[in-house]
């Protein structure tokens, strides 16, 4: 635990010095206190009878994001290995781009979490027909929309402004993916009533419990989110 925490702290300290070069030092220090306090909450993940423990505090939320990115990356890696029948060069390029983005997200969380990262999750894609465009794009849509709603719901749970910003950097890319995939299924459906409240124009976010209940169909490994902040 001590070693993991120290590793985690090193990441944050390093981040303060280099990762936010476009932010003035004074501005950063205004909320650096929150980051520092957060380090103490870093928890070791473990796999017990209740499944893989995401952990608590900001570490727990980062592991939650890491779990979802693992799912997305595994999906698109398979998509790009066995592209669906009749795929165009255009869609090959787009889906390969998305695969690389999701792998980058996954590897980022793994590296940033260091010793606090949860294990590699086992996925279950038996319900997906990777040879069929409708099945692949339908699943992609479900995963992307789920990811956006998950990040939006988790954002306010962060204690650290730096982590909130990092999640923000990723969620808008997931939203770009979601809009593209939806448009490829039905042009013009990039925002629709199932994902956006048509009165306020706000996206509909989901709590971790709601997200994991949906994601559970595709993840074999049991996940314990009971220590996440709410």
């Amino acid at each position: 635990m001590t070693k993991n925490t120290a590793l985690f702290e090193n990441k944050i300290v390093a981040d303060r010095d280099s990762g936010f070069a476009n932010m003035s030092r004074r501005k950063f220090l205004n909320y650096a206190g929150a980051s520092t306090g957060l380090v103490l909450l870093a928890a070791c993940s473990k796999n017990d009878n209740n499944g893989v423990d995401l952990g608590s505090g900001d570490t727990g939320i980062l592991n939650y994001a890491y779990a979802l990115e693992q799912l997305e990356a595994a999906f698109y890696i398979q998509v790009a290995k066995t592209f669906y029948t009749g795929i165009t060069e255009d869609e090959k390029a787009l889906l390969t781009d998305i695969r690389d983005h999701e792998v980058a997200h996954r590897e980022f969380f793994k590296a940033a979490l260091g010793g606090s990262a949860i294990q590699a999750l086992e996925v279950d894609f038996s319900s997906i027909n990777f040879a069929d465009r409708t099945s692949v794009l339908g699943t992609a849509k479900a995963f992307e929309d789920l990811g956006v709603s998950a990040y939006n719901g988790a954002g306010p749970l962060f204690q650290s402004a730096a982590f909130l910003t990092l999640a923000g950097k990723i969620v808008s890319v997931e939203a770009r993916h979601a809009a593209l995939i939806r448009d490829r299924i039905s042009n013009g459906s990039f925002v629709a009533a199932d994902v956006v409240d048509m009165t306020t124009g706000l996206e509909k976010s989901r709590t971790p419990a709601q997200v994991l209940s949906i994601a559970g169909t595709y993840i074999k490994t049991q996940i314990n989110a009971s220590n996440l902040p709410s």
Binding site: V103, L164, T165, K169, S172, G188, F190
Partner: protein, 277 residues
């Protein structure tokens, strides 16, 4: 609408309002004097200038100030799409394009209504906009300039995404407001993705739904500020470009596309200011 009453209302919400206008007495006096000499119809313009002056200098910390900043960006987008749907409606009649632009217009208008409802009496007035940025861009509402309209739409959406992202850390004291801002942020990103697809279909064949490096693509150089800083290859000290995993090498392009970067308050406001009349 009485200008003095509006200023009084703002003071009750934001006691530091006067202090933000520098120097305090001169600004209020000159604004009041100015108001006497000009036609009443020109007042919204004066108000716009006042608010730019009041809120345009440094990152605000008060929640309402940040929401008013967001409202200003939403006013800009809502008016842009409202005028665009009217201006290009005939040309685009019966196409998916006009359907999409109408959808986005509705979202932006809803964002304005939502933010105004949250702010109540503290909401800033809508400034007057000049979407040519004082002649920098061709008039996006001329039927022959549909491509210009789409280019500006992309710039506004990408700016919106970056601006909301940049403000999120300053909204952490109010989780409800932060949650709402995040839920607008992702909708702007969905818009950005769709507008980029529209531009691709309209002839910009290499354009992607995401931002590669700090490339503005075929948008005029005056919009480069929208993309500066998007080229980061390292996140929180983790080098993303060059990663090799599962037989996949993350290219520099993919590394920059995978993360959208925030825009500071000042940088976002400076972009918006270009379009204030």
């Amino acid at each position: 609408m009485n200008l003095q009453n509006i200023i009084k209302e703002i003071e009750t919400v934001d006691p530091e309002f006067h202090e933000r206008v520098s120097p305090r007495r001169e600004a209020i006096k000159s604004l009041t004097g100015f108001g006497k000499k000009i036609a009443l119809g020109a007042l919204p313009l004066a108000m716009g200038s006042l608010f730019t002056k009041a809120y345009g200098q440094t990152q605000p910390t008060a929640i309402n100030d940040i929401l008013n900043f967001a409202l200003t960006l939403e006013y800009l987008e809502a008016e842009f799409y409202t005028r665009g749907v009217t201006a290009h409606g005939t040309l685009l009649a019966g196409t998916p394009a006009i359907g999409a632009l109408t959808t986005i217009r509705n979202d932006e208008t809803n964002h304005v209504t939502f933010l105004k409802s949250v702010l109540g009496a503290a909401a800033v007035a809508k400034p007057n906009f000049d979407f040519t940025a004082k002649g920098t861009f061709p008039d996006p509402f001329l039927p022959t300039n549909y491509a210009v309209f789409l280019a500006l739409a992309q710039a506004f959406e990408d700016t919106g995404v970056r601006a909301y992202k940049g403000q999120a850390p300053f909204l952490m004291s109010n989780k409800t407001v932060l949650g709402a801002a995040l839920n607008i942020h992702s909708v702007e990103a969905r818009h950005a993705s769709h507008i980029r697809q529209m531009r691709k279909a309209n002839g910009d064949t290499t354009l992607k739904p995401w931002i590669t490096g700090n490339s503005r693509g075929s948008i005029p150089a005056a919009a480069q500020a929208v993309y500066n800083g998007e080229e980061l290859e390292t996140q929180a000290n983790v080098k993303i470009s060059g990663m090799v995993v599962d037989g996949i090498t993350i290219s520099t392009a993919a590394a920059t596309e995978a993360f959208d970067e925030p825009l500071s308050y000042t940088d976002a406001l400076n972009i918006a200011k270009l379009f204030l009349a």
